[in-house]
Symmetry: C2
Subunit: 181 residues, 2 copies
Amino acid sequence: MKTEIPDPPSAGPEGTAIPDTAASESEALVKDLAEQKDLHLRLAADFENFKKRSRQESEARALAQKESFIIELLPVLDNLERALAAGASKDSAQFHQGVKMTLKQLQDLLGQHGVESDDITGKPFDPHRHEALSQGHDPALPNHAVLEVVQRGYRRGAKILRPAKVVVNDLTASQPARHGR
Amino acid sequence: MKTEIPDPPSAGPEGTAIPDTAASESEALVKDLAEQKDLHLRLAADFENFKKRSRQESEARALAQKESFIIELLPVLDNLERALAAGASKDSAQFHQGVKMTLKQLQDLLGQHGVESDDITGKPFDPHRHEALSQGHDPALPNHAVLEVVQRGYRRGAKILRPAKVVVNDLTASQPARHGR
C-alpha cells in the first residue's frame, strides 16, 4: 500500500494547530481516502467478474468431464453395433460372446472411473447399501442374508450411486415366503 | 458507504485555517481511512476464500454431473446382463432383439445429453467432421461421397466429439481402389 496514515496534526504548546500543516495534512488524507475507495471499488469489480467467470468455467468444466466420459463410452456402442450386425450371420454362441465382451468393456470403463459393484449374494443385508424388495426363506443361509440380487447396486468408494435391490432371507417366518420378485 | 469526503478546510479571509476545525477534520479523515482500509482487507480475504471454495465446488460439481450420467447409464448394464442371462436359454432371435433394444436405449441416453450421430453414407465427405481411412470407387455416387462408415462419428451440437471414420469415393483414380479398410 503506498499511502500511510500520517501522524496526528501537530499542535503547538498552547494546544492550537499550526494551520498550514493541518490543511496540507487534510488534503493528503482526502487524497489517500479517495485512492483507497478507488482501490476498493476496483477490487469489488474484480470480485464480481471472478464470480461470473468462475460460474461459467465451472459449467464448462463439468460439461467437458461428462463429454470426455461419453467419448470413452462410444466404443461400447461401436461394439454393440458390430455384434448386432454380425449376429444375423454368425452363430448364436459367437454373438453371445461378443455381447458378453461388450458388457465387460462397459464394466471396466465404470471401474476406471471408480464405479464398482459388489457380489453380495449370501452376505448380510445392509440397509445402507441394499434395498429389500421382498423376503425369502432359505434355512441353509443365515437370517437376513441376501438371497438374490434382483438389480445390481453400484458405488464409488463409500458413496452409494444406486443401492442393490435384493431378496432377503427371513428365517423367522413360519411359512416359507415366496422367493423372487 | 457511510463516510463522506468532507469539505476542504474552511479558511478565514486572511487565508489562515481555523485550527480546531482542521484538526477535527483530520481526525475524522484518519478514522475514515482506517475504516476504508479495513473494509478493503476484509473484501480481499473474502475474495481469497471465494477463490479457494469455488475451485473445490467446481470439482465437486463436475464429479456430481459425471456420476449422475453414470447413474442414468446403469440400466444399460442391467439390460445387457439380463439379455446375456436369458440368451443361453432363449432363442437367438429374441436375444438379438434384446441387445438391439439395449443399444437403442444407450443411443437414446446419449441423445438426451445432446449427443447425436448422423447418417452420412452417400453424403459429401467433410474433413471437419469425417476422417478418411481409405478410398473407394463407385461411379454411381459423386466424387468425394462417403462410401462407407467404418466407425460412427458423434457430435454435441456443432462440436465434434469423435469424427466418423469413412471410406471416400475417388472417381479420379483410373483403377478402382479397394473399397474397405
